[in-house]
């Protein structure tokens, strides 16, 4: 299995591996009670391809949904812990105690939570990416249907004109 330059054809090897893995995964999921539609290997491959694009190829910092939510302060996880106080006189002392005494004491808990919040943020972004990929697929299908309709109408109109 060599390419034109006589080297091993890595693209073909990887396609074979990916096909084998897809088949194995489909069987496993069906055995666990996945949707019946997955019995159709072609449908499963299309679904996997759409989700792979979301997981592997999308830049999670270049997504549409966060842009649309821009005006909403409450949708995004706030990761860094910010210390603020509205008290004019005692504010400085409170901040000092929080920053220099309480935070070092609670550091282990803070780090643990932060790491999990980071993971949650990533999951959120992956979900946004998946939804966006589905919306893209939907948009392309709509375009195709519209073109087919226009083509069909044009074809019918053309036939009527010739008649």
């Amino acid at each position: 299995m060599a390419d034109q330059a006589g080297r091993p054809n890595v693209a073909r090897l990887m396609r074979e591996i990916e096909d084998q893995v897809r088949q194995q995964r489909r069987t496993r999921l069906l055995a666990r009670g996945a949707p019946d539609e997955y019995r159709d290997a072609e449908i499963f491959a299309i679904v996997e391809d759409v989700l792979h694009r979301a997981v592997d190829q999308r830049d999670l910092e270049a997504l549409l949904i966060p842009e649309l939510l821009d005006a909403d302060e409450d949708w995004e996880l706030q990761l860094p812990l910010r210390f603020e106080s509205h008290r004019r006189t005692t504010g400085g002392l409170i901040l000092f105690v929080k920053k220099r005494i309480l935070r070092p004491l609670m550091h282990w808990l803070y780090e643990y939570s932060l790491e999990n919040f980071r993971r949650q943020r990533r999951v959120n972004r992956l979900l946004f990416a998946s939804i966006e990929e589905l919306a893209l697929e939907n948009a392309k299908l709509k375009q195709d249907i519209a073109e087919l309709k226009d083509g069909g109408i044009a074809e019918r109109t053309g036939r009527q004109g010739h008649a």
Binding site: R7, P8, A11, M14, I17, Q20, D56, E61, P80
Partner: protein, 393 residues
């Protein structure tokens, strides 16, 4: 360079050192760096001032602030989310360090005395603040990886400033061009060079008690290098498979390694053992999600050893595809298929290893690397230097 020394293990640091040493065969080279050795704290450890390191003159400047990992993590979280003002973004580079204002003052006062000034790694203080000071003769090697730092807004304009850019791989070039989104200075792609591998010592492998076949991981054992995933995948495979072979891990460990008969962690190994391990491995596995150039991959190919790499790292996947020197995986199932294919099909593994070797032969021999780099540096339109540099402490 943010830190410099023969005892410093690090990708860009090692690259800078070998390139500087090769350039010094035909040019006067001064390394302008800091007194830091530890990349976490930037503690001052080397003496400040001018010293010699072989053919190189090394000029070190003290670091004025140690890095606070906690504060740096906080500002990173804020800056990586985007939308922070320029002052906060600049502060990120200052806090990343190593903050050595003396180095910047020296560049400002004496930069014009050098023909070219090469900066390694955009993310560090000396590169971010230094390039604009000597932009007309600055050549930046960004060593960019697909991590959040590349998205910092200020970098869009920053990458346009140097007279030239040197990338380590086409993927790095594509990454920087994608994020900067504007015309960039002239550039070239140059990796690092390799010599022909030495004749492997059979005794060295015997001394470790390791016998073929084995899968090799070489380098720092660290979650950031994808080792947690590798260990999880490997231990699962070792439990499920009757054909499992040992995983040999050679490198300093920054994480716990599970107690398993089939995992052999050797810690830091000397160069002779390293070469013997490479020469005798059935395959090398590289699980890192972020790389700007994988030297270990090239070293494995130098020994005709095929590779199994993390496909989520575009650089690794790109190198493997260009070289036809291995396989790649995105998940556990693909990891197992790739691993078993390479272990089971000896002819295929041999062909992939040989193809990787041919790729190294074509692109990564020192003569080729230095010719490409020197030609690029020579052809850059930069103003002539004004006086001979005489660094003083």
């Amino acid at each position: 360079m943010h830190r410099f020394g023969a005892d410093i293990a690090g990708g860009s640091e090692g690259h800078c050192r070998v390139i500087a040493e090769r350039l010094a065969e035909r040019h006067d080279i001064t390394v302008i760096t800091t007194t830091a050795r530890d990349h976490m704290t930037w503690r001052n450890e080397y003496p400040a001032g001018v010293s010699e390191a072989g053919a190189l003159t090394v000029h070190r400047f003290p670091v004025v602030r140690q890095r606070s990992i906690r504060d740096f993590a906080d500002i990173s979280t804020r800056v990586f989310r985007g939308g922070e003002p320029a002052a906060v973004q600049e502060e990120w580079f200052r806090m990343n360090g190593p903050e050595a204002p003396g180095l910047l003052a020296y560049l400002e006062a004496h930069g014009h005395e050098y023909d070219r000034i090469l900066f390694w790694s955009f993310r560090y203080y000396q590169s971010f603040f230094g390039v604009p000071l000597v932009a007309e003769r600055a050549v930046l090697l960004p060593t960019a990886e697909e991590d959040p730092a590349i998205r910092i807004g200020l970098l869009n304009a920053y990458f346009t400033k140097p007279a030239g850019l040197v990338y380590l791989t086409p993927e790095e070039q594509e990454l920087v061009e994608r994020y900067s989104g504007r015309p960039l200075p002239p550039s070239c792609v140059v990796g690092s060079g390799l010599d022909q591998p030495p004749q492997p010592s059979t005794g060295a492998l015997i001394s470790t008690g390791i016998a073929r076949p084995y899968v090799l991981y070489l380098g720092r054992i660290d979650p950031n290098k994808g080792c947690a995933t590798l260990l999880r995948f490997f231990t699962r495979w070792a439990k499920e498979s009757t054909r499992a072979v040992p995983l040999v891990m050679a490198g300093p460990a920054n994480m716990a390694i599970p107690a398993d008969d089939r995992i052999r962690a050797l810690g830091f190994v000397d160069p002779v053992v390293r070469e013997a391990l490479l020469a005798n491995a059935s395959l090398i596995v590289i699980p890192s999600p972020f790389e700007s150039l994988s030297m270990v991959l090239l070293e494995a190919w130098n020994h005709c050893v095929p590779a199994l790499v993390n496909a989520r790292c575009r650089v690794l996947k790109g190198q493997v595809q260009r070289a036809a020197g291995g396989l790649y995986y995105r998940n556990y199932d693909e990891f197992v298929r790739g691993l078993e294919t390479l272990l089971r099909d000896a002819t295929l593994a041999q062909d992939l290893g040989r193809s990787g070797h041919d790729y190294v032969e074509r692109n990564y021999r020192w003569s080729h690397v230095m010719e490409t780099l020197e030609q690029f540096l020579e052809n850059l339109a930069v103003p002539a230097r004004r006086t001979i540099a005489q660094p003083s402490s």
